[in-house]
């Protein structure tokens, strides 16, 4: 069990790193894209907007 927890933590650190807010934001943006595309509305623009905003906010947090 201890090994599994350590392995899960290592994978989390490896992929997500120290900024889980950005990871959560990216997942939320993908979910919104899926919802809007599922409704038959053009949704390609959501990810570029989300990525720009997430990166700017992440850098702002890091700089302060």
């Amino acid at each position: 069990m201890n090994f599994l927890v350590r392995a899960a933590r290592a994978v989390w650190d490896f992929v997500v790193g120290d900024d889980w807010v950005t990871a959560l934001g990216a997942a939320a943006a993908l979910a919104v894209t899926a919802l809007i595309a599922g409704a038959g509305v053009s949704a390609w623009w959501i990810m570029p907007v989300a990525v720009s905003a997430l990166l700017a906010l992440s850098l702002r947090r890091a700089a302060h």
């Binding site: 490896f14 997500v16 950005t22 997942a27 993908l30 894209t33 899926a34 595309a37 990166l55 700089a63």
Partner: protein, 251 residues
């Protein structure tokens, strides 16, 4: 080869070259200070472990339905790419220390000396373990990129070949120089890889979630320069913010 495949090969090649340069520094440090044979055994064991990871996960990933693969793996690639790009932007803006192979080599060499004398014969556990750890951990990032890029395009062998070429080039350069490859523009290469990972993650993630890009795969020709411009603008913004004098608080 299509434009997407060229992008895939180039991204993997750059990412792999950067990680290989870092791994080479560690192996050189323990090899020259303690034991070459034990360090090289460590390299061999790490490469074998990485090959097992890629061989086991590659077919499993490519057997997933394309949309599920693109949204899942594209999302992971995007999160990983944003992390990589964020660090690269902070380095370029002067808010994070630049990676310096000469300093890393000096640090590893000092640690290897401080670990005591190497045994006269037989395997040196320190050299083996440090080489194994260095190559495996740096290689894991490459394996992740090879698998995510390769699986999304169903071209894992192409991605693996690009990685192998990068390793071969770095090893040849290392053997020729017999010193850490400090002149490789690592920080610029990391910046480029961050741009590519974020661009491909954005493209595949949105496509997997059901969005259709205008122009199909050709949209990448707009996304990659767009992310690059965004990253450069953020470097300039951070440089200006960090150079501005702090405003004293009132009262």
């Amino acid at each position: 080869m299509s434009g997407t495949e060229v992008g895939l090969a180039l991204s993997v090649l750059l990412a792999c070259a950067v990680e290989a340069v870092e791994a080479l520094t560690i192996v050189l440090a323990v090899g020259t200070t303690r034991s070459w044979s034990s360090a090289l055994y460590g390299v061999g064991a790490a490469v074998a472990a990485l090959a097992v990871v890629v061989a086991a996960l590659g077919p499993a990933l490519t057997s997933l339905p394309l949309n599920a693969l693109r949204v899942g793996v594209g999302g992971l690639l995007l999160v990983f790419g944003l992390q990589w790009l964020r660090k690269a932007i902070l380095r370029a803006a002067g808010l994070k220390e630049l990676h310096d192979e000469t300093a890393a080599f000096a640090e590893e060499t000092e640690a290897a000396r401080a670990a005591g004398a190497a045994p006269g014969s037989g395997l040196d556990g320190y050299s083996f373990a440090i080489s194994f750890k260095g190559v495996f951990l740096e290689g894991l990032e490459v394996a992740f990129i090879v698998l995510t890029f390769g699986a999304n395009q169903h071209r894992v062998p192409l991605a693996a070949a690009a990685a192998a070429v990068a390793v071969a080039l770095v090893v040849l350069a290392g053997v020729a120089a017999r010193a850490p490859l400090a002149r490789v523009p690592e920080n610029t290469m990391k910046f480029s890889v961050g741009v590519m990972l974020t661009s491909f993650g954005t493209f595949w993630g949105a496509e997997g979630a059901g969005a259709s890009w205008p122009g199909g795969d050709a949209a990448l020709l707009a996304i990659i320069p767009g992310v690059l411009l965004l990253a450069c603008a953020m470097v300039l913004w951070l440089r200006r913010v960090s150079a501005a004098p702090a405003v004293p608080e009132a009262g």
